[in-house]
């Protein structure tokens, strides 16, 4: 009985009902079948309570900061800086795409923002340089998922909120996997470049040129350090850090790049508002879903299913990674975390896995899911930008996706990779 609501949820979603409504409708059927319709009275309160949370304000603020940075001409500066760094390598623009994604990741918390901001600049440039459009789209999609792994990260804010992990600790844990993904992608690109004889996009830049480009990108690149430093030193809560990021982005685009147009501000606010609204509503709906499923005893059922696989945490982690990868092929990362986090994490903690370690595994795995076919927001955006079908783009993605799979397993089995930085920074883990 405990799992019936899950079957309803999956059924509704398979039929095409948007996740947010399926998350409320499945529990409604559940309580109705169980003759517990009295619970319906409490649903609005649960939705309201799930959204009415101070830590969640970090979501609209981080999204708004990303919007402002992108409109403020900061993206272009990052791309130019990346070009002086790696443009002279074989496969130059593809490398630039990957490095820009790593740099942009520090400004924005969402992979989708990364895809559309960098894709709209770099995909046409790569095509002009002789890459196929399909390959350009594949590189953009695969490198975009670094966005929510390197802080700030909306997905991590959501995880931290639902599971009570430290946002600062999770942010700190994201740096190393993010860098590993970027470097791994560059290695694969280097091999492909040699094999397929990709062009270089720039002469080797002189130290002076690199310095100039770095100078113009330096202030924006400070953003993640301001955010993390503020949280770490106890000056900022994550929400305040996000607000500070908005203020910083505004200052940069008013005084440094001087490209902020007042007339575009309403548009930025609107886009940030709508994007936040969809995420927040899913959080409210997931609160109802989680509440009803826990009433029906689903968590203990799932927990016993998991421990029945094996009591060796390494084997269970392997299976969970496979499960999350498959889930990521179909689900968006946010809902997947909201539904599965409360079910999986407590069991893993009782098996001796550190909560922060499990958190980063889950966040990275489901973030990669944004780019895995057949369903994924990042793929979806890359496909609309290029007018190439998702399955076609996917054909060029496999070597890059393998990098992400390797990173997921490395951080799973070598906790030191992710845990050292939070420990050094004193997040008490």
């Amino acid at each position: 009985m405990a799992l019936v609501i899950f079957y309803f949820l999956l059924g509704l979603m398979a039929l095409g009902v948007p996740i947010v409504f399926a998350l409320i409708f499945a529990p409604i059927i559940g309580v109705w079948l169980n003759d517990q319709t009295v619970f319906l009275n409490m649903m609005p309160q649960r939705v309201f309570g799930g959204i009415n949370q101070f830590p969640l304000l970090a979501i609209p603020m981080f999204i708004l900061a990303g919007e402002i940075m992108n409109h403020g001409g900061i993206t272009v500066r990052l791309v130019k800086f990346a070009n002086t760094l790696v443009g002279h390598l074989r496969g130059g623009l593809a490398h630039v795409n990957i490095v820009s994604s790593m740099l942009f990741a520090g400004l924005s918390g969402s992979a989708v923002a990364d895809t559309s901001a960098l894709g709209s600049i770099l995909i046409p440039a790569m095509e002009k340089d002789g890459y196929t459009r399909r390959f350009a789209a594949a590189v953009t999609a695969c490198s975009s998922v670094i966005g929510p792994v390197i802080p700030p990260s909306i997905i991590m804010v959501v995880y931290a909120y639902i599971m009570g992990v430290s946002v600062g600790g999770l942010f700190a844990a994201g740096f190393v996997p993010g860098a590993m993904m970027g470097i791994g992608l560059m290695i694969v690109n280097g091999i492909l470049a040699k094999k397929r004889n990709f062009p270089r996009s720039a002469e080797r830049a002189s130290v002076g040129e690199v310095g100039t480009a770095f100078g113009s990108a330096f202030l924006p690149l400070l953003t993640p350090f301001i955010i993390l430093g503020g949280i770490l030193s106890g000056v900022f809560t994550p929400t305040e850090a996000a607000a500070a990021a908005v203020a910083y982005a505004l200052l940069l685009s008013i005084f440094v790049t001087r490209t902020l147009e007042i007339s575009r501000i309403p548009d930025m606010l609107y886009r940030a508002g709508l994007a936040s609204s969809s995420i927040l509503l899913v959080i409210g709906a997931a609160t109802v879903f989680g509440w009803v499923t826990s009433l029906s005893g689903a968590p203990s059922t799932i927990s016993s299913l998991l421990t029945a696989i094996s009591d060796n945490p390494l084997i269970v982690l392997f299976c969970i990674n496979i499960l999350l990868f498959i889930v990521g092929m179909f689900f968006d990362a946010g809902p997947a975390i909201l539904i599965l986090g409360p079910l999986l994490a407590p069991t893993m903690n009782s098996l001796g896995i550190d909560p922060l370690h499990f958190a980063i595994i889950m966040c990275v795995n489901l973030t990669v899911g944004l780019a895995t076919p057949p369903m994924g927001l990042v793929l979806f955006v890359a496909s609309t930008l290029t007018r190439i079908s998702i399955l076609d783009i996917a054909k060029d993605m496999w070597p890059f996706l393998m990098v992400h799979v390797v990173v997921i397993f490395l951080i799973t089995y070598f906790p030191a990779l992710t845990m050292t930085l939070p420990r050094l920074l004193g997040f008490g883990v």
Binding site: L15, G16, P44, L64, A113, G273, S278, L281
Partner: protein, 214 residues
């Protein structure tokens, strides 16, 4: 007989044709009234969602100002704004519920459309009708129960400023009602789409969306 047959045959064809025309006429007529209703809902929703849009712009702007000011007051002036935390949370709830109907109209709520895409246009419109009926039921219940919930707020006052909680709680039923209205509009369009897919829900709408969703 040889004469009668063609006559009779012609007669049969005539009646069939007439029947068909009559049927088509009735269907066409009912579709016309569905279409009229759909465009009525569309016009009403256009107005309502335009209000939501400007409310969202104002809310996000005010949120940014409040939160930045709160940081500034606390650290630079050493004087925290007492109501900033509670006030900004409530604004965020309103933001969420005012954005929901707009997201529905722009097909920006994430869904899995692999199965739907396997069907021909007419079948897809039937799917959309079913999906929107589910949304109407879901949001209808949230509207009904949310209205009762909002009335509870009449007896509560927000703790950091003197404001009845009705004004916060009522975001739930209002957002649900607006989402219902959009879902009704979309259902009517899907109904027309089952008769004639070119009249139904525009499937290219998602192209507009990722610009918004980003």
């Amino acid at each position: 007989m040889p004469l009668a047959t063609p006559l009779g045959f012609r007669g049969d064809r005539c009646t069939i044709k007439e029947k068909g025309e009559a049927n088509h006429g009735a269907l066409g007529k009912s579709m016309n009234s569905v279409g009229g209703l759909a465009s009525l809902f569309e016009r009403v929703n256009d107005r309502l969602l335009a209000v939501c849009k400007w409310a969202i712009i104002a809310i996000v702007g005010v949120l940014a100002v409040i939160l930045i000011a709160a940081v500034f007051y606390r650290y630079a002036l050493n004087n925290a704004i007492a109501w900033s935390e509670e006030g900004s949370k409530y604004l965020m709830v309103w933001l969420t519920f005012l954005g929901a109907p707009i997201a529905l109209r722009h097909a920006a709520h994430i869904n899995i459309d692999l199965l739907v895409k396997l069907f021909p246009p007419r079948g897809r419109q039937a799917f959309y009708l079913g999906i929107n009926l589910v949304i109407i039921v879901t949001m209808g219940i949230l509207l009904w129960k949310g209205w009762e919930f909002a009335q509870l707020g009449a007896r509560q006052v927000a703790s950091s400023f003197n404001f009845s909680m009705v004004w916060m709680y009522v975001a739930v039923p209002i957002g649900s009602a607006l989402t219902c209205l959009v879902a009704i509009e979309l259902s009517l369009k899907a109904l027309m789409g089952i008769a004639d897919p070119s009249q139904g829900i525009d499937e290219d709408i998602t192209a507009v969306v990722d610009e918004v969703r980003e």
